[in-house]
């Protein structure tokens, strides 16, 4: 909120406290001051009178003779309202304005010794000005003292504005009176509110009826005020409204705004003559279009709180009044509305209509119900004094305020116990007294009577907070919690992730983190989605519409980005949750684009192909103790849209699907401007639930092993896996290893066949005899020949 230092001074003695000092103290106490700005910034001004004014031909300019007391200057002015006899603000050469220093220089070839000013040129916020004040120079009253040099003082612009950021719990401070109380508590200075109480307790009988037809309006104060004279506001009133960033309209409207700023209670004044009946009904069951104060039409829906008279809408409750009953210069009788509307409903309506008015914001943040009476009292007082009102009717009150004074009892020991402090009873009571909490002490107990505007206070923790924020956090010590010892350790899945990360890092992969929200296509058409995607109700963009059900597209976007930025040989991994309706899965994505390791100088490379990826995955699985026998690599029949149909595989652990890996389909890769990319997306869940054996040491073999290499010619369709399996299943007990070390097709090999070189290792619990080896070896060859039609290559 914009807080006027000068206005605040009306209630609290600020002598000896500069705006800067005040700002620091407020910030320390939790009312963060984000900026300090003078209301206007200008040096070297004076008040002048336009003695002569003639148009400069062919331009919008005027040539003036402007008198500033003893001297008269020729000043050229472009404002449309510049005219003879006008009292104006003059910035003479050397004057300093926010826009720069004024110099005497020719304008359109005519000598000009300064500038006639508009208020915004002095730094006044345009929002606080009427359109005519922005379009032209400021028109000073006829009695303005020509020659006066304290122009800012004369204009009431000699003020400083503190920009205070209020936390949602301290919305009460957006009312000046309450802010003054807060500042008083911070500075330990007495606060004086105007003597307003009971001002509205007067009036003749009234025929005005108020009906509440919705429980979203719990209470409504209405008062008819007759014989009002609408006119300009007094100078002080205009100045304070300007300081608060509001512009002055007329005395009556200004008073309603001023009282709202003082008390926090939004008010609406209706022109009584324009109400079709002396009746107001508050409803929330209408659906219609209405024109509000600013002339714009709004769609009202069922549930919106509406003010009606004789069945017709006269205002969007708590947000904006209707155009038809607006106060104007001819208004003589008013109806004052001070009501309490449901904050949630006002919030919904104002957000939907995009009508975030001062009133709506105040209702949304919460207001004390006693503020209604305060606002009506203060309205009566000011209308009588500044709008010559004298025909008051009795206040009509519909509903109940429901206000129950809040009493909170805290103990000194509990307070110090929670804070870890050792504040004395005297310190605490002093603080609470300055807050107007009227503390009563009974032994260790402190009973606080909370002022009505402090709707944020309803428990002991609130009292403790008040104490510590006002006595200062600087006094707090530093300790560590004293309690029973607890064991801190990672859960199995957390350790699993860390080990995986370390491993991937060692293989040269860069970890990436990508966005969870993706476009709809990615989630529905993507690889191996975990289920039906979770879609946002109100997405911010097409690109971030649903929660991803897989990682492939996000990861490929990173590959594409990097390729486009001249980064090559990419190796990334990501560990992330994916979601579907009612489902959650955690995935490891691995991508290889280019070589996994390569070195041109030393001429070697580990290509980023299917086998590199397979090697990583198998190492990863074995790292967690899963023996090869539990793993099945099957042909990919699940997703040949994203994967190369003949260079990818499904991976199973204990018959449970872990994921798919291999080369991506060139057409899919091309979408990301890539050629050969290898990708794996693996679900972590099956690994976490699968049992792993303990680490067991077996005695190292005492007798040497013997290896025999053979070359077999088989049909091309026979896989290496089949050959190894067949060799191992031959019943040769001394076979401890079978490994393919070369595959060859081409010259010297019959078409449709291939040569596979196999290394067989034999070992047992004694030194092998030649005949043992030969017998086992033959057995294997026989089996390979029988099962796979494999011939020993000559």
């Amino acid at each position: 909120m914009k807080l006027s230092y000068k206005w605040l001074g009306e209630y609290v003695d600020l002598s000896g406290i500069t705006p800067e000092m005040l700002a620091e103290k407020m910030t320390t106490a939790g009312l963060e001051v984000e900026g300090i700005e003078p209301l206007a910034q200008a040096e070297g001004l004076c008040i002048g009178e336009v003695l002569e004014c003639e148009d400069v031909e062919g331009t919008h300019l005027h040539k003036t003779e402007t008198c500033v007391g003893e001297k008269t200057y020729q000043i050229i002015c472009g404002a449309p309202n510049c005219r003879k006899g006008l009292k104006v603000i003059v910035a003479l050469p050397g004057a300093k304005l926010p826009g720069g220093t004024i110099e005497a220089k020719p304008l359109h070839g005519l000598e000009s010794n300064g500038m006639l000013c508009a208020l915004f040129e002095l730094g006044v916020d345009r929002k606080a000005l009427r359109q005519d004040q922005i379009d032209g120079i400021e028109e000073l009253p006829e009695d303005a003292p020509v020659g006066e040099t304290d122009v800012l003082g004369y204009l009431g612009l000699d003020d400083t504005i503190l920009d205070v950021s209020l936390t949602p719990n301290r919305a009460d401070c957006s009312a000046m009176w309450n802010m003054a109380k807060e500042v008083g508590a911070i500075l330990h200075r007495e606060v004086k509110w105007p003597d307003y109480e009971g001002q509205a307790d007067i009036g003749t009988d009234t025929d005005f009826q108020i009906n509440l037809k919705t429980d979203k309006c719990s209470c409504y104060y209405g008062k008819v005020v007759n014989n009002v004279k609408v006119g300009p506001s007094p100078k002080w009133l205009r100045e304070y409204l300007n300081a608060a960033g509001m512009n002055s309209i007329n005395n009556v409207v200004d008073i309603s705004n001023f009282v709202m700023l003082e008390t926090g209670q939004p008010l609406h004044y209706y022109d009584l003559a324009k109400l079709k009946k002396h009746e107001i009904t508050v409803v929330d069951d209408r659906q219609l279009t209405m024109t509000a104060l600013d002339g714009v039409e709004f769609e009202i829906k069922t549930g919106d709180i509406l003010i009606t008279t004789d069945g017709e809408a006269t205002g969007i409750a708590g947000i904006m009044g209707g155009e038809e009953s607006m106060i104007d210069e001819n208004t003589t009788s008013l109806f004052i509305e001070a009501a309490h509307f449901d904050h949630a409903s006002i919030r919904r309506t104002s957000i939907r209509l995009n009508l975030i008015t001062e009133a709506a914001q105040r209702f949304t943040k919460g207001i004390e119900t006693p503020a209604m009476a305060k606002a009506v009292d203060r309205s009566v007082q000011l209308l009588r004094e500044y709008a010559e009102a004298d025909g008051f009717e009795k206040t009509v009150i519909a509903g109940e305020t429901g206000y129950v004074p809040q009493v909170v009892t805290e103990t000194l020991s509990h307070c110090n116990g929670l804070l870890g402090t050792s504040f004395t009873m005297e310190q605490v009571v002093d603080t609470l007294t300055w807050l107007d909490f009227r503390p009563e002490v009974n032994g260790d107990e402190i009973t606080c009577h909370i002022p009505s505007y402090r709707i944020d206070i309803d428990g002991t923790a609130d009292i403790d907070e008040e104490v510590v924020r006002l006595l200062g956090f600087d006094s707090l010590g530093s300790t560590l919690p004293e309690m029973a010892a607890t064991v801190g350790q990672l859960t199995p899945v957390q350790s699993f992730r860390r080990t995986t990360r370390e491993m991937m890092k060692a293989f040269g992969f860069n970890e990436i983190v990508t966005y969870t929200l993706v476009n709809e296509d990615y989630a529905t058409k993507g690889f191996n989605p975990v289920g039906e995607p979770v879609a946002l109700a109100m997405p911010m963009s097409e690109a971030r519409k649903v929660v991803r059900t897989n990682l492939i597209n996000s990861v490929m976007e990173v590959v594409q980005y990097n390729e486009a930025h001249q980064n090559s040989n990419l190796a990334f991994f990501e560990i992330s949750k994916v979601y579907a309706k009612g489902k959650e899965d955690e995935r490891l994505a691995i991508v290889l684009d280019g070589d996994m390791q390569s070195d041109r100088l030393h001429k070697y490379a580990i290509g980023g192909d299917f086998y590199a990826l397979k090697g990583i995955i198998m190492t990863w699985l074995s790292r967690f103790g899963f023996a090869e026998s539990r793993i099945r690599i099957a042909e990919n029949q699940m997703d040949t849209e994203h994967f190369h149909p003949y260079r990818s595989a499904e991976l199973y652990l204990d018959r449970k699907l872990v994921g798919v890996f291999g080369e991506l389909h060139p057409e899919y890769a091309a979408k990301y401007d890539c050629k050969r990319v290898c990708y794996a997306e693996l679900s972590i869940e099956p690994l976490l639930t699968a049992k792993t054996g303990r680490i067991r040491f077996t005695e190292l073999p005492k007798f040497p092993s013997v290896s025999r290499d053979i070359a077999l010619v088989v049909e091309k369709s026979v896989s290496a896996g089949d050959i190894v399996k067949t060799a191992k299943n031959s019943g040769a007990k001394i076979l401890v290893g079978a490994e393919v070390f070369d595959v060859y097709e081409g010259e010297h090999i019959e078409a449709g066949k291939k040569s596979v070189a196999l290394s067989l290792t034999y070992q047992t619990d004694h030194t092998l005899k030649e005949e043992e080896i030969t017998s086992a070896h033959q057995r294997i060859l026989d089996n390979l020949s029988k099962r796979l039609n494999a011939e020993l290559r000559g």
């Binding site: 929670l418 870890g420 300790t479 560590l480 607890t486 801190g488 859960t491 990360r501 109100m538």
Partner: protein
Amino acid sequence: MSDRIEEVRSQALQAVASAENLDQLNQIRVQYLGKKGLIQDMMKAMKDLPKEEKPAFGQKVNVLKSEVSTAVETKQVELAKIATAQKLERERIDITLAGDALRLGTTHPLVMIQQEIEDLFIGMGYKVAEGPEVEQDYYNFELANIPKDHPARDMQDTFYVDPNTLLRTHTTAMQMRELEKAHGVKPIKLICPGKVYRRDDDDATHSHQFMQCEGLVVGDHVTLTDLKGTLEFMANKLFGDGRKIRFRPSYFPFTEPSVEVDVSCPFCNGKGCSVCKGSGWIEILGAGMVHPNVFRMNGFDPETTSGFAFGVGLERVAMLKYGINDIRNFYLNDVRFLKTFDRFD
């Protein structure tokens, strides 16, 4: 004949001495000591000598033989050494050529910070809690003392899926799940790191997705000073020794009192610099004492229970720590950015 011995000796020794390599030396050895060598010839010539001269001559030839043999052997060691040295020199390589380009991967900086915080708190007996990112309104807001239409809901604009489901806006949702699960049993010491989401347009300082880590301690006598001490520990771990902590009053619906926490600027040691905008302090997190309503709703008696909670933004920490100016870097994953974090810190 004696002259002949002397002559052979001087020739042989000279030849050995002047041998330039092992091949030459071998030729010399054969020439003098071989079966058909000069010395053997002299032995053979002995038969023509008178009998009485034979022993003396034989002895002399033997001495000669042994002398030449020794010279050859000595020379052989010497030449072998030279040969080895020459061979090694021929094997000279350019040690300034680059070593093998072995690639080590990197941990994402956000994960690095997360693990750093995890390790610190695990050491102090905290557990690391986890929870769903697609969360119920109930855990994200209701249990956190932010009922429907509470103004604080404006503070964190939410991605709703349906009226009861949302993308969690803060890791507080996990705290609430853990509190509920505890069924009133104390103590609780946990941290909960994770991704969170808010309706923000992505720019240099805003991201619709970011990471938080919150901490929660609940016991019988947990105090605000415990919070301060704990956060001092964390600040020192994250930003280096000697950090100081400052509390400023603030507001969060789930804590009371609530504080904004500043750490003394690690770049200027609190003297004031461009990072801390001259103040000497940098705001790093929000914290407070668990609100009694939160305890009540989760089945704890606020009269006999107290606790603190804090929440830190991992991007904020990483940006400060590593001087990153644009939050989008974390999600662009440019390899050059990622490789910045390939070392122990």
